[in-house]
Amino acid sequence: MNRRSFVLTGITAAGTAAVAVPLPRATPPQPAAVATRRMREFAFIFDQRFAAAHALANAMAWRGHKVFGYVGDITALWLREIEPQWARRAGALAGISTPAALFCLEQLAAQHWLRVVTRHEQQAGGSGPLVSWVIA
């Protein structure tokens, strides 16, 4: 499959500037040229159990991104909002979650040949780490 490099616009999942991720060239016998395409995210999701996640979600909402919250269990949100978009290859998904929820989404994303392209672990007080990430 031809993969495309992309620029993630408006995503400040780690509080950093937009990230450009170059992708491997297509391998023979495919064409050698690498195309680029800007890919916007279709949503930002966050685990509502954590204050740090709320803070980032608020910032994303203020910037005009579609934001969805969930409480621990990702199932309903994945079924309702994420899987249909991934099936349509609608764009990148960003979020802040526990490592286990990210693991879950990473496995599900692989079904659409999507992958975690950035991840940034941060502490969330006494509850252990949270991870902010982008899947594209």
Binding site: M1, L23, T27, A100, Q107, R115
Partner: protein, 549 residues
Amino acid sequence: MRVPPNVSATDYAKALGEFEQAIGRDWVFTSDEDLDLYRDAFSPFLNEPEERIASGALAPVSTEQVQQIVRIANKYRIPLYPISTGKNLGYGGSAPAYSGSVVLDLKRMNRVIEVNEQHAFALVEPGVSYFDLYHYIRERKLKVWIDCPDPGWGSVMGNALDRGGGYTTANYRNHFDSHCGMEIVLPDGELLRTGMGAIPNAQTWQQYKSGCGPWIDGIFSQSNYGIVTKMGFWLMPEPEAYLRGTVSVPRYHDLMPLVETLNLVENSRITSGFPDLESPLLGYPPVGQIQLWNETGPPKLSPEHLDLLKGAKLGYSPELEAYGVRAGLPYWRLWLSFHGPEEVIQAQWHAAQRHFARIPDAKFTVIDQLKLPVDAQQATKYHEPELGVPSLRAFSIGARTPWTPTPSKGHMWFSPIIPRTGEAIIEANRVFSEAAKSLGMPLFTTFTLPACFWERAFIFILATPVTEDPATNKRYREGFKKLIEIGGQHGWGEYRTAPVFQHAVMDVYSFNNHALQRFHATLKDAIDPNGILSAGRYDIWPKHLRGKT
């Protein structure tokens, strides 16, 4: 570019060109980035040289494309490794058994071909997940249930072909047993249908399993004799009601009559729901409550209780037993569930109580009584798979907690089958706890209870952690193999295992100079002479690799 073993770069390039013509360039994957998606997320060799990896991946969308791929693979001797949705975590995931194989990713073949409500069956392709089938049924308001494992993200077909199990009633819980009819692409590209499907225009393909003559379906499970492209499953008609009750007994040795009576009531079909064993006194949760314990923490035990647990041997001491009686903590609790019309399940529950009442001081409690159906949201109040609802809640633990301070990177399931007796439970605890201790493996706390997926045997299932430290992982791998050997010495064999352990597990099945393995090899040589399909899966190797890997 990665190249499969024993294939020249020139031949591989030619094969890739022909694969692209057959299925489209977009569905042929060779970049490291794409192939990393096929690594086993729970690999006990993660990032080590021995980690099994794919050298390519192909994603066809139809049976015809699978046939074309197989013919090309035969031409260039490309080793293929079919996967369905690649979610066999703990048992190898999506990584090939023979490292360097080309993964044949069947997830694009995701059609629910039919769900027949009247005859309660479904016919699906390999890429259909339990979520897919559940939503197909719900959207059409069909009154049938699926039976799914936990989590429910895997393939209906894939789980059945690896002989996995679920949580509703006995006749649907054994996923391979509940299948009816298959379509298979053989290693030479020929298309075969089994059972009544071997009759053109068959009218009972998903209604009568065995057709006529040798019933060959079993050889396509846990094997490498063909690529299943369609599979039928019997489904449970939506029950009217559900009841879940518990039987609690106070003494250690009550375990024996408890299991004996469970066998009687299950085999008599007085109960057919998922039985679940717990020990409140030993702090061992039932399978159906593990999620809740993960989310909210296990029950808090008093200092006296904790001290008594430390002093128990194989989960027993007279002082601990006496404490349990004083504190009202049963030694054992058995959860029973019933599905069906209200009047029937009430009668079944009463009959079950009558049998268990032969155990002195047995106590009975109704935990849940529901009118069905419930929707997915309502089902979250319970262990959803027991109500036929797939879930991902197993991953909701997430954050590091006081009761899970160091979550592992993954796990490998050690899952021997033991007899369905209380004596066997205690003996398995003795044997494996002593072995685990001597091997330095963190498998046990005080006592382990088996899972009751199957009606006539227990699975004594334990999770061996995968860590970030290669030295620890190596020690656990070697320990795991030793546990397999020890189990075999006691007549216990695994029911399923990851590729890294498949040789060790199959070696235990050694009756009559490994007659079973020799038979497997005979079939392999006849069915797949070029050895292109899933080399090494369940230790079945093609002739050119036998004894060399």
